[in-house]
């Protein structure tokens, strides 16, 4: 457990050094008649890199549409 904590700390430090702290939610759909649904997220401060990462990580289907939304732009309306 100690080793895992250390690894996570190192990874966190490396992310901090390269400023990869911004989270992007990834939405996609396989057919036009389907709604977009959230398929995951990526971390990148640069929007172009976020697009590259989303395309390469979530490439399990031939999506007809994929969009990314920065988490910090989401406004909570109801929170219980």
């Amino acid at each position: 457990m100690k080793a895992m904590t250390s690894t996570m700390h190192t990874t966190s430090k490396r992310r901090e050094a390269l400023n990869e702290t911004r989270v992007w939610h990834v939405y996609a759909r396989r057919k036009y008649e389907e709604p977009l649904h959230e398929i995951g997220n990526v971390m990148a401060d640069d929007v172009e890199l976020a697009k590259v990462y989303a395309r390469s990580i979530y490439d399990e289907f031939s999506w007809v549409e994929m969009v990314i939304v920065p988490r910090d732009c989401i406004i909570t309306v109801i929170e219980s």
Partner: protein, 253 residues
Amino acid sequence: MPGTPVDNAALFAVLSSLADNKQFIGRRYAYWCNGAPALEAAVAAAAMTQDELGHARTLYPLLEDFSQARADPSQVEPVTRTLHYHLAFLDHDFRGWSDFVATNFLLDNALTTFFEAAQDSSYEPLRQRARKIVQEERIHAMHAEGWVRRLAKAGGAVRSTLVASLNRLWDETLCWFGPDDDANMQRLYREGIIDAMPSELRSRYLQKIMPTLSSLEIDVPVTFDLVTKHWEPGQPLPWNEWDAIARRVKQGS
């Protein structure tokens, strides 16, 4: 080897260089599929590795159609090929992630500049592949620019390591287009296989990469002509070290 073989030594040589560079870029990228600074970058590296090896795999079979391959058929297969027409920079493993970024930004962009010039090629097999490769390379270019920006803006040792990687690859990449009197490139231009001569290709390439480097204040040996509004090489390229056949810097240079 069906049909009449193509007899074009110049095209055979340039295709060999393109295939070898793509193959070796893929091999070097592969090492970084689990070594990139972040998980997202590692997955992207894996995807780009597949793309580069895929590009090589579509180019090598073209060599089989040339009469120049008859002398030594083993040279058209990446597994049996003993000639190495890739840049000397790719001879060794990358020293770090910055070499990955520099290769993607400088070398892969240079090869894409060539493929862009071949999108209306008179040689149909290249024309087809060039259009597909140019399309796929858009994602690689986004990755390259994003990482150059990121490493440069990190400052300190991260930035200086990136600059060192760019500098080590700079001359050889600019040389790859060939000198203005490059016989192979001249023939490709004359026969409508590409739409520009080496100096024009080099110029197109610089206009593509320099806005990013300039905005980040990364010093490279170029000058900006205020009249033509074009970036040009700022110092003579090392043609005395250039191997025109292998399209790479000579061993030991």
